[in-house]
Symmetry: none
Subunit: 193 residues, 4 copies
Amino acid sequence: MKSNKPKYQQIIEAAVKVIAENGYHASQVSKIAKEAGVADGTIYLYFKNKEDVLVSVFEEKMGQFIDKIAKATSEQANANDKLKVLIEMHFSQLEENPDLAIVTQLELRQSNYSLRLQINNVLKAYLRVIDEVIEEGMKDKQFRSDINPALIRQMIFGTLDEVVTNWVMKDRKFTLVDQVDEVHKFLTNGLKA
Amino acid sequence: MKSNKPKYQQIIEAAVKVIAENGYHASQVSKIAKEAGVADGTIYLYFKNKEDVLVSVFEEKMGQFIDKIAKATSEQANANDKLKVLIEMHFSQLEENPDLAIVTQLELRQSNYSLRLQINNVLKAYLRVIDEVIEEGMKDKQFRSDINPALIRQMIFGTLDEVVTNWVMKDRKFTLVDQVDEVHKFLTNGLKA
Amino acid sequence: MKSNKPKYQQIIEAAVKVIAENGYHASQVSKIAKEAGVADGTIYLYFKNKEDVLVSVFEEKMGQFIDKIAKATSEQANANDKLKVLIEMHFSQLEENPDLAIVTQLELRQSNYSLRLQINNVLKAYLRVIDEVIEEGMKDKQFRSDINPALIRQMIFGTLDEVVTNWVMKDRKFTLVDQVDEVHKFLTNGLKA
Amino acid sequence: MKSNKPKYQQIIEAAVKVIAENGYHASQVSKIAKEAGVADGTIYLYFKNKEDVLVSVFEEKMGQFIDKIAKATSEQANANDKLKVLIEMHFSQLEENPDLAIVTQLELRQSNYSLRLQINNVLKAYLRVIDEVIEEGMKDKQFRSDINPALIRQMIFGTLDEVVTNWVMKDRKFTLVDQVDEVHKFLTNGLKA
DNA sequence: TATGAATGAGAATTCATTCAT
DNA sequence: TATGAATGAATTCTCATTCAT
């Protein structure tokens, strides 16, 4: 967390709301400022520029998202259970924060290359959590030993990401957490020794 | 294919090249026109607006992409083999067309919501191909019967898409088709009866 | 002259008028465009940016100013007469174009360093004309031989420039060309052998 | 001198330094406050607004500049000697204070019309000193009697000012006081009876 | 006196699209 | 069909100034 100043958090929350409601390209700085209840110029006391606001939204929100998942998996005894909790937490956290889901799955992906790179950088922490689960599964023989961990991690992340994106694009008409078991079964079957 | 007029194709090809080289946001209509060797205004004789150019790029290129995959899978005898060929074709086609891969995996995703919807519409044809493979696999007992086909389709597509995106973002430093066997094994294991 | 396109000249003339009437800092691009009867964007078809408009104003107008003085001095037989004509032309041209006088003596001097450098570059042509008169005067013994030509040139230019600036700042309440004889006498006395 | 309060002087000195180092347009109030070691708001306890700071810089510094020249000329016995001392003092004071020279010759001239008027007002005291020398020279027949004193004063000031500006713009690569004799000779020759 | 966080007005520039030729 | 000059709407960021403390 970059700052505990209340205005910093206000602006972050306002940005999520404005982007979720208006879409990436219609989210002007002035709109975010108004939603946050501050003057346009105040944004620039807390952020370098507009891109910095967007990156910070991702850092703050995904940071918490990832921390919770990392904590929850660490409390599980084996790789299969860890993977189960990871899927559960991934789905439930986004299901509980529809605005955040819209922002991360749809809107922020419309950003330019520079922002995409910074977003990917934040995601690395999540990919490492997945990597650790895979490693543990291989060591404990829950997963096959002939897998390419990096490729598997891409497939796990791609699977989860696509399911969530689909759910958002279908206007969240089905329940995400209800899919956990089947997704988990698919992934563990794909991996089992 | 919307049109066989040579200028129509010229503009499509120019758009792919310009977007791959400059990125989505730096691909102005005037740049595409110049690359295509026509005047700016001429673009509007063949396309309704800029978005229509981009949608058409996706339609033309993904249309061919999907047709080839549909044809190849139809020539295979069972679901497992069909899935194998689908992965092979998905990877090999994009590996052979790096410009197209950059455009579809990275650049066109920066587009606005309206364009994304139209892109998804084009993708439906591909998703139907995947659906047919899944159905056949279930019917022939190669795949489990307790799966949710729609969810499985999302996971398969998400897996392939993420692997390709990763390959593009890593500047295509590894060989995509070398991953086919492992991806196929992962998916069929996840699905097998 | 950079261009003969009519719009180019329209914009130059509009800029002179707008700057003379509103002052440097209140001369927005949109105001110049409106005065020129073109759209804001049209300015950018003919000029790289706002600074380029201002530099071009100076280049065009001072270019003509200097050309006329160079031609007139070349038609005089000796250094004293050349200096006389130079002063006459310097004063009369600005007296006949009050807007231009305001722009060159007051407004464009408020510009930033980059523009000032480019303005100085244009002025070099004028300084060379003065230098040639000084050289001829020294060669023909009309002027003393113990002078530092560069210093003398600065003093001549400084003298003329200050007199004109004063005239502009005093709202042009006296007649500039009436001062020619006395200025000429002062300068030639200061220089005579 | 408006004030003897130490902070007033601190701010004046800071403004000269900041403007000399950063240029007029990059000299924000906050930068001057930081250099002076005070808070932004403190500036407004001592000055009405930013323009007032800049005017005060000119008043303070040029006030001292002019006082010294007035005192030095008053100690000379005749107009020619007074003019000599005036030139000497004009050049030497600016040569000894390069920051001040940059500020008065280049940076403050980029200011708006209102500030220029106030600067000219300060300069009037200097112009009166020049006027007195001219009057004395005419009365004592060292200078011609057929001159227009106001015009001559403009030419003298223009000459000195242009020479100093040139010296500053050429990055002070030559020695200003070495030019005193030639400038003096040029001016007195131009004026002598 | 002194602080410094907050304010909010203001302007250059881009580029998709049009339309007279 | 084809051209390309012209259009004009739309938005980020800076910085002088204020005022509650």
